[in-house]
């Protein structure tokens, strides 16, 4: 029984799930401020009271990094918000980020017992509240590192996998150095996820907390070019290396007209806006061109981010073109819902076949064909089949292709003996070990395109495996 919760289980179940505070759709679709402000203190306390504090909590099984969820909620009820965030931090060093971008509805909250008949506890919003509370009140104290070790570990890439692995290893006492190719830390959290879902300030603060563990970060360092993996083992003296360079290479549909001016990969479109600040041009130097009519192709979270960004940049019509139906969209429900609220127009069961130019190499439209759903394919989703003779043209001036990314090949091509798959991913074992001893890999580089939290799990597992590897090398 949870001594912190004065309510009986039957009383707890009567409390409705609290709704987060959000910017109104009409207002937020014109600015880049955060869409959701999460919970205030009152809502947090009420929501925390809903937790049944189950004897065998299923929510933990749903969390890829196994956060002690009832444990942190109990601390919330005891008004120990800093204790709560530190409880989360035992399992996950980036709580303010995960509280914002994790798909809780298919993880912890999906397994919450309350969700079977009622609605699950808003675990994600509680996580976010305690993380934000600590930030706003400046209450962070870096954990004490019990034992310093001499061994050096290199982390390649400063996205969610790299940052998590770095934090885990630094807490074990290792000398950790992160190498980042771009000028700013965060990987996809920086260049991919828009300000309105994850403010850069939050990312900066989380990064500072990793530095506070003694982690050194080199930006502007392209491993494979600026130095190679073999040099890291040699003259740099690293004992182990974790590769977490993500899936940063864009793919294109391969339809005619993709080199017209006004066609962007989602990577370029989002990088210009998020990393380079193009939404503040000319105050920031990097430009972006946005037509009155913008089409984003794809149905994943990246497509949602791009189309909602297009709306905020002033598109009169922001279309999302997806060849299957809404049910098959891989994007988070919350993101699809937010996009709809903001006035994004969905062209579903629609497949682009050709980009039409204006004769001067600028995009003027996109030719699409209507699709029907046929039998399920390998992914279990119903395969879209083209309806013959259904082609039609939508006038468009800006096109963003968000149809998936592949790993960047620079490290693979400069590291002999590192096995890769046909898809360009680095092959790893369950412990994130690669074909080369001492080299581990994780996140999208190994997965080919997944979520922030799965990348973090890989980073965590890799840290454990690296620790074991370094220990085993000592006993040899």
């Amino acid at each position: 029984m949870n001594s912190a919760n004065p309510l009986k289980p039957s009383e707890r179940m009567k409390i409705p799930r609290q709704e987060p505070i959000e910017q109104a759709a009409a207002e937020r679709s014109t600015n880049f401020l955060e869409v959701s402000f999460g919970f205030d203190l009152d809502r947090t306390v009420v929501e925390a009271q809903r937790c049944l504090d189950c004897k065998t909590p299923l929510c933990i099984d749903g969390c890829p990094v196994s956060i002690d969820i009832p444990g942190f909620i109990t601390l919330v009820l005891q008004k120990d918000y800093v204790g709560a965030v530190n409880k989360i931090r035992e399992a996950n060093y980036l709580p303010a980020i995960c509280g914002r971008v994790c798909p809780q509805e298919t993880q912890c909250e999906e397994l919450c017992v309350l969700g079977k008949k009622l609605t699950p506890v808003a675990i994600g919003k509680l996580e976010r509240f305690v993380a934000d509370y600590e930030m706003q009140n400046n209450l962070f104290v870096p954990p004490v590192i019990a034992e310093k070790r001499q061994e050096k570990v290199a982390i390649v890439g400063s996205g969610p996998a790299g940052l998590t692995c770095a934090a885990e290893l630094a807490r074990k006492g290792y000398q950790v150095t992160i190498f980042e190719a771009l000028h700013a830390v965060g990987g996809v959290l920086r260049y991919g996820i828009p300000e309105f879902r994850l403010p850069k300030e939050i990312l900066d603060i989380e990064t500072e907390r990793i530095k506070a563990l003694g982690v050194q970060i080199f930006t502007n360092f392209v491993v494979g070019r600026t130095a190679t993996i073999d040099e890291f083992f040699g003259e740099w003296g690293f004992s182990a290396i974790f590769l977490a360079t993500g899936a940063g290479t864009p793919t294109f549909l391969g339809i005619p007209g993709e080199n017209f001016n006004g066609v962007y990969s989602a990577n370029e479109f989002l990088t210009r806006v998020n990393l380079m600040g193009a939404y503040r041009f000319p105050d920031f130097d990097t430009p972006i061109r946005i037509g009155k009519e913008v089409a984003v192709i794809g149905g994943g979270n990246t497509a949602m981010d791009a189309v909602r960004t297009a709306k905020r940049l002033g598109a009169e019509h922001a279309y999302l073109i997806y060849r299957r139906s809404r049910q098959e969209m891989p994007a988070r429900q919350e993101e699809i819902h937010h996009a709809e609220q903001e006035g994004v127009e969905f062209l579903l069961l629609t497949n682009p076949t050709r980009i039409i130019g204006d004769g001067k190499n600028w995009v003027a439209g996109i030719e699409c064909q209507r699709m029907e759903l046929g039998e399920p394919d390998d992914s279990g989703r119903r395969r879209p089949v083209a309806v013959k003779g259904s082609e039609y043209v939508v006038p468009i001036q800006t096109i963003v292709e968000a149809i998936g990314q592949k790993p960047n090949p620079i490290i693979q091509s400069t590291t002999p003996g590192l096995d890769t798959s046909k898809r360009g991913t680095v092959v790893t074992s369950e412990t994130q070990a690669t074909s080369r001893p001492g080299i581990f890999a994780g996140g999208d580089l190994a997965r080919g395109g997944a979520t922030v939290i799965l990348a973090m799990r890989d980073g965590k597992n890799a840290a454990a495996a690296i620790h074991q590897y370094i220990e085993s090398q000592k006993t040899l």
Binding site: H183, F221, F252, N259, D285, T286
Partner: protein
């Protein structure tokens, strides 16, 4: 921060910088480029590395002030810094012994050509160089090129120095009169490289060009630098920046490079206003 060690004005609007970037200096080969960002509101722009000193830990870049970022960079003095430098990026120039090669440079492209001419000379080639510029005061690196070339010809559009005309006039003469030319390396404005490729095609001489494109990251991430080469989509940053000139769709690339012309003008005018202290609300 990356400290500027020295600056030297080579021609009106063209400045040579030595910048501290020890990791880049150690790894850099002819043909590599860096991405540079001047300050925290700045763009990332690609610049070819003209030279490097691994011992001193410096790289040399030669910059023509044409847009906002390059103009801002060209106001920097020795001792000041730029915020970000990353590299060496792109594939190094393939250097082989072709027997005799012609190096054709247009304008500031000569800065990119110079390390290549030098590497080609070191590889045992007979190097014929053509330095093209609009006029005499824009001719750069003539002495440096002479050190690593067996012959140097200068052409100016207005005839104020060397031969009056275009680099292609001189190149045609070489192709017609010098036996055994195995390759042509051309770097300069896109229309020049296109003209060179068109000229060498009937001679069936291998022609390498270095493409300047729109880039954001320079590491293969954005795809903004895509070009059509031999009918296929290539990324100039990681597949290039050098390609067989006979297979490049120059017309498409020239049009792609105009994507941001209007916005670049706004950015540039605003910068000039800030420098002069004048306010011009119209450009906002």
């Amino acid at each position: 921060m990356y400290r500027i060690v020295s600056t030297r004005v080579l021609a009106p609007t063209i400045t040579r910088f030595e910048i501290e970037a020890p990791f880049v200096a150690r790894k850099r080969k002819a043909g590599n480029f860096i991405m540079i960002r001047v300050d925290d509101h700045g763009e990332r722009i690609p610049l070819t590395i003209a030279d490097s000193d691994p011992v001193a830990g410096t790289i040399t870049i030669i910059v023509q002030a044409i847009g906002k970022t390059t103009k801002q960079l060209c106001t920097k003095k020795a001792g000041e810094s730029v915020l970000d430098v990353v590299g060496p990026l792109g594939n190094p120039t393939p250097i082989h012994n072709h027997g005799t090669v012609v190096c054709v440079g247009g304008g500031v492209g000569n800065a990119e050509l110079y390390p290549i001419a030098r590497a080609l000379k070191d590889a045992g080639n007979t190097v014929l160089s053509i330095i093209g510029a609009r006029s005499r005061d824009l001719v750069i690196l003539e002495e440096d090129m002479r050190r690593f070339s067996d012959r140097v010809a200068v052409t100016t559009d207005d005839g104020s120095y060397g031969r009056k005309g275009f680099v292609t006039d001189q190149l045609k003469e070489f192709l017609d009169t010098v036996p055994g030319i195995g390759a042509v390396y051309a770097i300069g404005p896109l229309p020049m490289m296109k003209a060179v490729a068109n000229l060498t095609r009937p001679y069936n001489v291998h022609t390498l060009v270095s493409l300047n494109t729109v880039m954001v990251d320079g590491t293969g991430m954005c795809g903004g630098c895509r070009v059509t080469v031999n009918g296929e989509m290539k990324f100039a940053c990681v597949d290039g920046p050098e390609f067989d000139g006979h297979t490049v769709d120059f017309d498409e690339l020239m049009m792609r490079n105009r994507t941001y012309n209007e916005m670049e003008r706004v950015s540039d005018e605003l910068h000039v206003c800030r420098l002069t202290g004048e306010t011009q609300e119209s450009v906002r």
